[in-house]
């Protein structure tokens, strides 16, 4: 069988890809370009952006605001001079602002693709029509002959036909930081991975090569990641769903009520103009115009608070989504651990005892020969070494044991880089007149090569029989169970100087087992407490790592992810490949806590299975290839320090300190925000009651209108805003993280809240405001059934005190909303500057609408007797007192477990 392009000899590649060593001709390039398109990863098409923009401006709530604004403009044309045009503009402004904000949020979330594009080069060297030329990378087509050299970024997937000392970094695709040495030879029949392919998005670390392009654009492996990073649909956040549902309900209530009263007006013989004005009034009164801007501002301020706790939130909906999380799938390195690999054990291979003194120093020197580590000014480590973290750990341990780094590294004459397939690295050094071959790597890979074993106390190594090897294996298992990454260390003295071209296998004969290195990345000290906090909060923590199962399990146990004494139920990447999604969901349902030896691609499968279990999932990631899983999760969390730009752009949340504990703090904030949203929703809806009642009364009784549309808006878009935002900034309740995650079926706007705000608080406010309205009218000599013009001072005074009293009553409502069962008056009430400012605004405005002409002229209000204004101050006490009475009853019934919905507010 011929197989695929990686399986055939280099000499056949040109023919099989319909190319030739001189390169393609311009006509061939044009035809292929037409056939497969440019070598580019496409960003969202323009019409899709327009679609997104259109969607933001055509949601239910926004359309309603447009209609209301249009009706206002029509009304202004028909009957000018009643400020209806200003009202129309205000409504339009709210609609546009909401739409724009939503669009900006969506736009920001799509920038991962831009970061991916940066990993591809602009121009490349290609052989075309017999000449080597520099061409735009976008113009590459299958069959193009590509020339690459050290430092180049690879522009497309290609099959190598020739290379010299070529080493590439495939980290963007594999997440594996260790470089890979490539060859032009065909893949062997037993090889899993092809090492003759250049992959787009990766970089050439050293050497040069020639390849024939076989895939371009989004058909490259890199392009597939890009496609997923952009096109995977982000789950609708719980808050988005709730707000959409709330908006639909409120809009339906407003429109139906408006239409019902319009029809009533038609039959009651009310003039069409008056009828229309009242319909608009009813709709405006029932639509909480300020609610969405308040929500947005509240989330924005919440995101600022989270940022102070090292949780940077990119999309505002993620602020609350974090609070709704049921499961956190977390990485190990750097998130649960400190990402400071340290050699904690240097064990002898017989008893497993920790070596000390000269024996330890010698073992570490041999390990250093088999490492690739340098001194570097750019090193991020305190020791100044740079290289693979494990190699750096070896160098640090060697230095700590008193060894001279330069003396060892200067003695190295040849290095064999870490080979992923062989899972070991090696080096040859001249020391004390001897030539030593040293190798370190996974025990499984070295075990078959071991011929003898060094035994403490013995002058010469002993033969490695099965018993001794089994004994050594026990040491490996013990170290792994302690959470160590275990490296076996072996060596042999060579008789002659090595041939530079000799393969590593040539030296790996009759190796002597020196011992084992146990390296550990210490757990962050705060991690166990954070995990415990998650468990108390009903949040499941799952470790997803590329580490060995034993290492992963040990860390999970130390962090408390696996409860003491419980079965860890570790699943490996191979298990994940084998399991169906339904089977995985079933295993997750039974309580799998650890996924080991997993690849970033498998993270998505875990997310998908958890979604099928109806769980809200937070997933951490840092690599380029983590981007799709970060996007698929409800909350994608990227690492701020160690993460790639692509991961950061794909995620909704960036962890500035890479610390798991910060995620938990973010969850607490998120939960508090949902509670606060309900508080201010209740607060805002309460004022809708006294706004609608005047219209209902006016429609059915021969009385003046107690509240005009502009006055309604002065509450909804004026005085209610700052106190509502203040409620949005309330601190989390002490028991926030002692409760389970909220039920996904729990609505933001549920019946208890509607009944409480409209039919309890709303009725109290409406009753008291209407009482003051008629009191002022009757005191002023008004008789039942008499009409009053809008400019009449008596009417202006009556409508003024109605407005003023509603605003004042909202102060009582505000304090009531701060606590579910308590008084709501505590020290924090006066430490929340927005609540204090909100109250000040309400007091000042309640006075200004009556006595400050610049305000009263605009609102069509007038002054009342000071005694009447003083009486209005009874309103907040009344509403607060009655609501507190309700709370006492509700608390008693709640404790008895029998609280009916109508006494509860949430």
């Amino acid at each position: 069988m011929r197989g695929q392009i990686q399986d055939i000899p280099a000499g056949q590649v040109f023919d099989f890809l319909h190319s030739r060593p001189e390169g393609l001709t311009p006509a061939e390039i044009a035809e292929r370009l037409r056939e497969v398109g440019p070598n580019a990863i496409e960003t969202r098409r323009r019409h899709q952006w327009l679609g997104s923009l259109a969607r933001q401006f055509t949601n239910f709530f926004t359309i309603l605001l447009y209609i209301a604004a249009s009706l206002c403009f029509v009304a202004d044309r028909v009957q000018p001079g009643e400020s209806m045009d200003i009202l129309g503009l205000a409504l339009l402004g709210v609609a546009v602002l909401n739409g724009l904000f939503g669009f900006i949020q969506e736009y920001r979330a799509e920038r991962a693709m831009e970061e991916l594009r940066k990993l591809l080069p602009q121009r490349v060297t290609a052989q075309r029509a017999g000449r080597e030329e520099t061409v735009a990378a976008e113009q590459l087509v299958p069959g193009d002959v590509l020339k690459i050299a050290e430092g180049d970024r690879i522009p497309a997937d290609g099959r190598l036909i020739d290379c010299q000392d070529l080493v590439v970094n495939n980290a963007p695709l594999t997440g594996e930081a260790r470089p890979v040495r490539l060859t032009a030879a065909p893949r062997g029949p037993h090889d899993n991975e092809a090492v003759n392919l250049l992959l787009a998005g990766c970089t050439v670390q050293q050497g040069r090569g020639t390849a024939v392009v076989y895939a371009t654009g989004h058909r490259t492996e890199f392009g597939k990641i890009a496609t997923l990073s952009q096109d995977v649909r982000r789950m609708i956040s719980p808050l988005e769903r709730e707000v959409a549902s709330m908006v639909r309900i409120l809009t339906a209530i407003a429109v139906i009520t408006g239409i019902v009263f319009f029809v009533y007006g038609v039959f009651a013989g009310i003039s069409p103009w008056t009828n229309m004005v009242f319909m608009i009034g009813i709709i405006v009164a029932l639509v909480p115009e300020g609610l969405l801007p308040t929500l947005t501002l509240s989330l924005a301020m919440g995101s600022l608070r989270m940022a102070r706790r090292n949780v940077l939130v990119k999309g505002l909906n993620a602020v609350e989504a974090l609070g709704a999380v049921h499961v956190i799938c977390t990485d190990k390195t750097g998130t649960l651990t400190l990402n400071q690999m340290t050699v904690t054990a240097v064990a002898d291979p017989v008893a497993g005892a920790d070596l000390a003194g000269a024996a330890r120093a010698e073992a570490l020197a041999l390990a250093l020969i088999a490492s690739d580590v340098r001194r570097s000014r750019n090193s991020r480590t305190a020791s100044g070494f740079s290289g693979d973290p494990l190699d750096v750990a070896v160098a640090e341990a060697h230095a700590k044991s008193g060894g001279a780094f330069d003396s060892v590294t200067d003695s190295i004459v040849h290095r064999f880089s870490f080979n992923v397939r062989k899972r070991r690295s090696a080096g040859i050094a001249r020391r004390d007149g001897k030539v030593l071959f040293c190798v370190k790597g996974a025990w499984e890979s070295l075990r078959p090569l071991i011929a003898r074993i060094e035994t403490p106390g013995e002058s010469a190594p002993v033969a490695a029989d099965e018993t001794r090897l089994a004994q050594a294996e026990k040491i490996v298992h013990r170290l792994a169970a302690e959470g160590c990454r275990v490296l076996a260390l072996a060596w042999i003295e060579l008789e002659t100087a090595p041939d530079a071209a000799a393969a590593q296998e040539f030296f790996e004969r009759g190796l002597i087992l020196k011992g084992f290195l146990g390296a550990e990345d210490p757990l962050r000290p705060e991690a166990p407490a954070a995990v415990a906090r998650c468990h108390r909060a009903g949040i499941r923590v799952t470790l997803v790592t590329g580490d060995h199962p034993r290492t992963a399990e040990a860390i999970a146990r130390k962090a408390g992810i696996v409860p003491a004494g419980a079965d860890a139920a570790v699943l490996t990447g191979d298990d994940l490949d084998r399991l169906r999604k339904t089977e995985l969901a079933e295993r997750l349902g039974r309580g799998v806590h650890v996924f080991a030896r997993t690849t970033p691609e498998q993270k998505w499968k875990i997310v998908s299975a958890l979604h099928d279990l109806d769980q809200v999932v937070a997933m951490t990631g840092d690599g380029v290839n983590d981007a799709p899983a970060l996007r698929a999760a409800d909350v994608g969390i990227a690492m701020g320090r160690s993460g790639t730009d692509v991961a950061r752009e794909a995620a909704q949340v960036i962890l500035l300190d890479d610390n798991f504990a910060s995620i938990v703090q973010g969850i607490e904030e998120g939960r508090a925000i949902f509670g606060n949203i309900r508080k201010f929703t209740d607060y805002v809806l309460a004022s809708n009651g006294p706004e609608i009642v005047p219209y209902l009364v006016y429609m059915v009784l021969p009385v003046p209108l107690a509240l005009t549309i502009i006055q309604i808006l002065s509450i909804d878009l004026g005085t209610d805003i700052v106190p509502a935002i203040g409620l949005g900034q309330e601190k989390p309740d002490p028991d926030t993280m002692e409760q389970p995650p909220r039920d996904r079926r729990q609505r933001l706007l549920n019946w208890p809240l509607v009944i409480h705000s409209y039919l309890f608080l709303g009725v109290i406010e409406a009753g008291f405001a209407m009482f003051l309205f008629f009191w002022v009218l009757v005191q002023g000599g008004w008789s039942y059934g008499a009409d009053l013009p809008a400019q009449d001072s008596l009417y202006r005074a009556a409508t003024g005190i109605t407005l003023s009293s509603i605003i004042l009553m909202q102060i009582g409502n505000l304090y009531g909303r701060r606590s579910r069962f308590g008084t709501g008056i505590d020290r924090d009430a006066f430490r929340n500057p927005l609540i204090v400012a909100g109250i000040a605004i309400e007091i000042a405005f309640s006075w200004a609408v009556l006595y400050f002409p610049p305000v009263s002229d605009v609102l069509g209000t007038g002054p009342v007797e000071p005694a009447v204004y003083a009486a209005a101050w009874l309103g907040p006490l009344l509403i607060y007192g009655l609501d507190y009475g309700r709370k006492r009853i509700a608390r008693t019934w709640h404790r008895a477990g029998a609280a009916p919905a109508f006494v509860m507010e949430r």
Binding site: D15, L17, E31, Y214, R219, G223, D231, W604
Partner: protein
């Protein structure tokens, strides 16, 4: 017998690999290349290209017969006149870009071949010529009607010896307006029905091909856009060939949202084969 309706284009050269692969796994091991000579490609160039395909066939142990016929003005009629129509006939043709915003299949000879159901037809768009017509990872979008999969299974059977993984994807379609408001419980019910449907198809696939359960992956997705889900699944599972059935409805497309088959052909990250069984 396998026929290659060869048009002389680069896509034609690339799909020739598929034709050779299918012929190599056909009991008759015969490949008929039919080219209707048009002005689009010079005949001497086409002859040279066909010779190369013949060499590929010979290397794979396939007997190759070539027929270059003059165009009568109706390429479709010229083609079917040269194709023996029996139960074992399968025709491989291309789905290539035509520019000007025209689709890959709509209005083409390949579409007429698919539409007329005279024999099994598979129209292929190649974007990864490095696969050399020997894909190892397949994605099969499964519709609600299992009938259409019969031809697909026969095709898959011809690739099966070299297949590493087959992923069956069943997209349970819901209306766009419903999808946005779909409750999780309702989605779970739809998925459950989808799983049952897919399990039956998987069992059928195992029974009719040499594939074993460990080489088959299954997934059910509730969505309003199967083309989008198919493309995502192809990227996610690193599929090398999307093997999908074209129903009459799919070929006709959707007036409002475009033709999903064309969307998959345009945006897929891998090669795409659109098939339709014969026997109308």
């Amino acid at each position: 017998m396998i026929y290659l309706a060869y048009d002389g284009s680069i896509n034609g050269d690339w799909i020739a690999w598929y034709a050779v692969t299918l012929a190599a796994h056909d009991p008759e091991r015969r490949l008929g290349i039919v080219h209707v000579a048009t002005a689009e490609f010079p005949l001497d160039e086409v002859r040279a290209k066909i010779e190369r395909i013949e060499r590929q066939g010979v290397a794979a142990g396939v007997a190759v017969a070539v027929a270059i016929v003059p165009s009568s003005g109706d390429v479709f009629r010229d083609l079917i006149a040269r194709i023996e129509n029996d139960a074992n006939t399968a025709v491989v043709c291309g789905a290539r870009v035509r520019g000007g915003g025209r689709g890959y299949l709509a209005g083409t000879v390949s579409e007429r071949l698919l539409d007329h159901r005279l024999f099994d037809v598979v129209a292929i768009r190649v974007v990864q010529p490095g696969l050399l017509g020997a894909p190892r990872r397949f994605l099969i979008p499964v519709a609600g009607d299992p009938q259409g999969l019969q031809t697909g299974m026969a095709l898959l059977g011809r690739f099966a010896p070299a297949v590493d993984h087959v992923h069956l994807l069943h997209v349970v379609m819901v209306k766009r307006i419903v999808f946005r408001r779909l409750r999780e419980a309702d989605a779970a019910n739809l998925r459950e029905k989808g799983w049952r449907h897919l399990e039956r198809i998987e069992a059928d696939l195992i029974a009719r091909t040499s594939l074993t359960a460990d080489r088959i992956g299954v997934d059910v997705v509730v969505s309003d856009d199967w083309a989008h889900e198919t493309i995502i699944a192809a990227s996610r599972h690193k599929s090398q060939l999307i093997l999908m059935e074209a129903s009459r409805r799919h070929l006709a497309g959707d007036f409002f949202y475009g033709n999903p088959v064309e969307v998959v052909l345009r945006d897929a990250p891998c090669d795409v084969a659109v098939y339709r069984g014969g026997g109308a």
